[in-house]
C-alpha cells in the first residue's frame, strides 16, 4: 500500500514535470519566449565590441566570465577534496598496481602520440576564441596524453610539485587578469586589451589569456587526479 502510494505520487509529479518540459520546447528555434531575451544582446555584442567569432566563447569567458572563474575554482576544489580524501602519508604510498605490462606496440606508439596529443591540446586552448574549443577541452586533451603515458609505462611519473605550481600559477593568472581589469576598466574581469581584428589569433582582448590559463589549469588538475588515483595504494597490498 505504502509503495503504491509512493509510486502514485511520483507518477503525478513526473507527469507535471514532463508536461512542463515538453511544453517549453527545447531545440525549437525560438524556445526563449520572452520579449527581450539576453541571448540576442549576446549575439550582437559578440560581433561588434568584442570581435570574437565564437559566441559560446564570448559568453563563457566575457559576459559570464565570473561564472567560469567559479567553475575553475570548483574544479580546483574537487581536486583538493579528492587529494584530502585519498591522502596517505608519504611512506604509505605504494607502487602502482600493474596486472600485466603493456606491449611494445603500446609503449612505442604512445611515445609517438604523446607530443601530438599535447600539441593538439595546446592548439585547442590557444584557438579557444576562434573555434568551438577552449581551455576546458584543451586541458582535458592534455590530461589524456599523460593518462596514455601512465598506462603505457609502469614507472612513468609526473612531479607533484610541478603540477601544483602550474595549477597555482594558472589560477593566479585568471584571478590576476580579473583584478587587472578592475584596475584598468573599473570592473572585475573587464576587457582591458584591444579586441583586435576578428578571426586573427591576436584578438578577443583578454579571452585568449584566460583560456590559456584555464587550459594549463585543467590539464594540470586532471593529470593530478589521474596520478593520485593510480598511485594511492595501501601499505598492505602495495
Amino acid at each position: 500500500m505504502k509503495k503504491f502510494l509512493v509510486i502514485l505520487l511520483l507518477a503525478v509529479l513526473g507527469y507535471y514535470i514532463a508536461d512542463t518540459y515538453f511544453d517549453i520546447g527545447f531545440g525549437q528555434p525560438h524556445f526563449v519566449k520572452s520579449a527581450a531575451p539576453v541571448k540576442d544582446i549576446y549575439l550582437a555584442k559578440t560581433q561588434n565590441p568584442l570581435k570574437v567569432s565564437n559566441a559560446v566563447t564570448s559568453i563563457v569567458v566575457n559576459f559570464r566570465g565570473f561564472d567560469t572563474l567559479g567553475e575553475v575554482t570548483v574544479l580546483f576544489l574537487a581536486v583538493t577534496v579528492l587529494g584530502s580524501v585519498l591522502y596517505k602519508k608519504r611512506h604509505h604510498v605504494g607502487e602502482r598496481s600493474v596486472l600485466f605490462n603493456s606491449s611494445s606496440i603500446v609503449t612505442s606508439g604512445s611515445k609517438l602520440l604523446f607530443p601530438a596529443i599535447i600539441l593538439l591540446g595546446a592548439y585547442v586552448f590557444i584557438h579557444g576564441h576562434l573555434s568551438p574549443g577552449g581551455g576546458f577541452q584543451g586541458g582535458v586533451i592534455i590530461a589524456t596524453g599523460f593518462l596514455l603515458m601512465l598506462l603505457a609505462y609502469e614507472n612513468y611519473s609526473v612531479s607533484h610539485t610541478a603540477l601544483s605550481i602550474v595549477e597555482s600559477l594558472a589560477g593566479i593568472t585568471f584571478a590576476g587578469v580579473g583584478l587587472l581589469g578592475f584596475m584598468h576598466g573599473g570592473t572585475f574581469l573587464q576587457n582591458f586589451l584591444p579586441s583586435g581584428v576578428m578571426n586573427n589569433l591576436f584578438s578577443g582582448g583578454v579571452i585568449p589569456i584566460i583560456y590559456i590559463a584555464v587550459g594549463f589549469k585543467v590539464g594540470a588538475e586532471l593529470t593530478g587526479v589521474i596520478y593520485t588515483v593510480l598511485h594511492e595504494k595501501g601499505e598492505n597490498n602495495g
Partner: protein
C-alpha cells in the same frame, strides 16, 4: 569609496590559488594566510555595511556589462548584514582551528584551511550575487568544500556521512539547474532583479514548478525537514569547528537564498504560508528527534535544524516584525550554536563514541569550557538575560501581531522541549561523577579566546540588545522593499 563587493570573492580565490605556492616557501603560511584574508574581508565588510546603511545599496557590475547582460553583485543592508556575520564567524572558526589542527601533516592542513576558506567564500558569494546561475556556481563551491570537510577524518562513518551529503547535494544541484532552465526559457534572463520585474508574464504553473524546485534544492542545504537526512551525520562526523561553520555560515546562506526567492523574485501567493508550514514541521520533528539523541554533536545538529525551522516560520509571517525576528534568530543562532559546537567538541574531545554520558562531571576538569557550554545552552533555549531570549521574544511578538496564537503556543512548547534536552547535558556536566576512563583535553589558548569572545557577545546582546537591533531593522526593511531592489539593479546604464 572604501572597497567593492567583488573583493569578497576575488581576494579569497586569489589566495586559494596562491596558498599551495606559499606553502612551499614556508609551511606556516598555509595556516596564516587564510586568517589574514578573513581579517581583511571582515574589516571590508564592516566598512561597506557602514557605507550602505547611510547611502543605500551598492550594486557592482562584473566584466563591464550592466544587468541583465552581465553578472552583478548586490551589497544591501540585508545581504551586508549576513556577509559581516559570515566573515566574522569564519574568522573565529579559523582562529579556533589554528592550533586545533596542529597535529595533522602539512598536506591535510593545507587542504583543511583551503576548504574552510572556500566554504566561507562560497557562502558569501551566495548572499552577494544578483544572478541565479552565479548563485548555482557559488552553491557548488560551498557544497564541494563541505563534502571534503565532512570526510576530513578518515573512517567509515565520516565516509558514509560525506557520501550521503554528496548524494543529496548532487540531487539539489540538478533541481537547481532544472529550475534555472525553466526561468531562462520563459524570461530569457538570469538576473534576479530582471526576473522579479517580469515574472508576472510567466505562466503560473511554471512559476510554481520552478519555485518548488528552488526550495527543494536549497532546502537540502537549509536543513528543511524531509531533506535534512545528511545534516546529523555530517555534523557528527565533521571536525568540531566545521560543525560550527555549517550551522553558522552554510545554512544561513541557503536560508538567505530561499528568502530571496520568496520575497524578491517570485510573486506567488501562498508561499509565505508554505514557509510557515514547512518551518513548523521541521521545528517539531527536529526538536523531538533531538531529545532522543545519545551523541552530543547529533543533538546539537538536530537542535540546529529546529532553529532553522523557527527562522522559516518567522520569515513566513511576511511582516516587518517577522523578518526582524527571523534575522535576530539567525544572528543569535549563528553565535550561540558556534559556541556550543566549539565548547562541546572539547567536552567530548578524547572520547571515542562522543556520547552525552561522557560529559559527566567535566565542570571540575574544564571549568571555563563547561561554563561557556552552559551559557550557550541557556542562551539558545531563550532564558533571560542571554541573547536568545530577545530573539524568541521578538518571534512571539511578531506572531502576536499577526494573530497566530497556535505558533506562539508552539514556540513555548518547543522551548520547554529544548530546555529539557539542554539541561540534561548541563546537569551531567555539573552534578554527575566523572568516569575514570575519559581524559579531558584542555582547550588551546586560541580556542579559549574564541569561546570567550562568543560568550561575551551573547552577554552583550542579552543585556543591551539595542546594539544590534538598529542594523537588523534596516536589514529587514531592505529585504521587504522589493521595488527598491529592482530599481537599484536595473537603473544602471552602460
Amino acid at each position: 569609496m572604501v572597497g567593492t563587493p567583488v573583493l569578497f570573492v576575488a581576494i579569497p580565490l586569489l589566495a586559494a590559488f596562491l596558498i599551495p605556492l606559499l606553502g612551499m616557501i614556508w609551511k606556516e603560511l598555509v595556516r596564516i594566510v587564510p586568517g589574514l584574508v578573513l581579517t581583511y574581508l571582515l574589516i571590508l565588510s564592516v566598512n561597506l555595511l557602514n557605507h550602505v546603511l547611510v547611502h543605500g545599496p551598492i550594486v557592482e557590475v562584473i566584466a563591464g556589462w550592466v544587468p541583465p547582460i552581465g553578472i552583478n553583485l548586490v551589497f544591501s543592508a540585508f545581504s551586508g548584514f549576513l556577509v559581516v556575520l559570515m566573515e566574522f564567524l569564519g574568522l573565529l572558526v579559523w582562529a579556533y582551528s589554528y592550533r586545533f589542527k596542529r597535529n595533522v601533516d602539512y598536506e591535510p592542513a593545507l587542504k583543511y584551511f583551503l576548504m574552510l576558506m572556500m566554504l566561507i567564500t562560497g557562502s558569501v558569494g551566495i548572499v552577494l550575487t544578483g544572478d541565479i546561475f552565479n548563485m548555482f556556481v557559488f552553491i557548488e563551491i560551498t557544497s564541494i568544500s563541505a563534502y571534503g570537510l565532512t570526510a576530513f577524518y578518515k573512517g567509515r562513518n565520516s565516509a558514509e556521512a560525506s557520501f550521503k551529503y554528496v548524494m543529496m547535494g548532487s540531487i539539489a544541484s540538478t533541481f537547481l539547474l532544472l529550475a534555472i532552465m525553466i526561468i531562462y526559457s520563459q524570461l530569457g534572463t538570469l538576473n534576479m532583479a530582471d526576473i522579479a520585474n517580469r515574472i508576472h508574464t510567466m505562466k503560473p504553473a511554471y512559476k510554481i514548478i520552478s519555485y518548488i524546485f528552488f526550495v527543494t534544492a536549497l532546502g537540502i542545504e537549509a536543513e528543511i525537514f524531509p531533506l535534512n537526512g545528511w545534516a546529523p551525520d555530517a555534523y557528527a562526523e565533521a571536525p568540531g569547528p566545521v560543525g560550527a561553520a555549517f550551522a553558522g555560515i552554510v545554512v544561513k546562506a541557503a536560508v538567505y537564498a530561499i528568502i530571496r526567492y520568496t520575497y524578491t523574485i517570485f510573486d506567488l501567493s501562498g508561499t509565505l504560508n508554505f514557509l510557515i508550514i514547512i518551518g513548523m514541521i521541521t521545528l517539531i520533528i527536529a526538536e523531538t528527534a533531538a531529545i532522543r539523541q545519545e551523541k552530543l554533536k547529533r543533538m546539537l545538529a538536530y537542535s540546529s535544524i529546529g532553529q532553522m525551522g523557527l527562522v522559516l516560520v518567522a520569515f513566513g509571517f511576511g511582516t516587518k516584525e517577522g523578518v526582524f525576528a527571523a534575522l535576530f534568530l539567525m544572528l543569535n543562532h549563528a553565535i550561540i550554536k558556534s559556541l556550543l559546537f566549539f565548547s562541546g567538541s572539547y567536552l567530548v574531545y578524547n572520547s571515542t563514541e562522543k556520547k552525552i554520558e561522557e560529559v559527566n562531571g567535566m565542570s571540575k576538569y574544564l571549568p571555563i569550557t563547561s561554563l561557556l557550554f552552559a551559557l550557550g545552552a541557556f542562551a539558545i533555549v531563550g532564558l533571560p538575560p542571554f541573547a536568545g531570549f530577545w530573539s524568541k521574544l521578538s518571534v512571539m511578538t511578531a506572531a502576536a501581531d499577526s494573530n497566530m496564537i497556535l505558533i506562539m503556543a508552539l514556540v513555548l512548547i518547543v522551548s520547554v522541549v529544548e530546555l529539557v534536552y539542554y539541561l540534561r547535558v548541563v546537569n551531567r556536566i555539573y552534578f554527575f561523577k566523572k568516569e575514570a576512563s575519559i581524559k579531558p583535553h584542555r582547550p588551546t589558548i586560541n580556542a579559549m579566546v574564541v569561546m570567550l569572545v562568543l560568550g561575551a557577545i551573547i552577554l552583550v546582546i542579552g543585556f543591551y540588545p539595542d546594539a544590534v537591533t538598529g542594523i537588523l531593522h534596516k536589514a529587514s526593511a531592505s529585504l521587504m522593499d522589493k521595488g527598491q531592489y529592482i530599481h537599484h539593479v536595473l537603473s544602471l546604464k552602460q
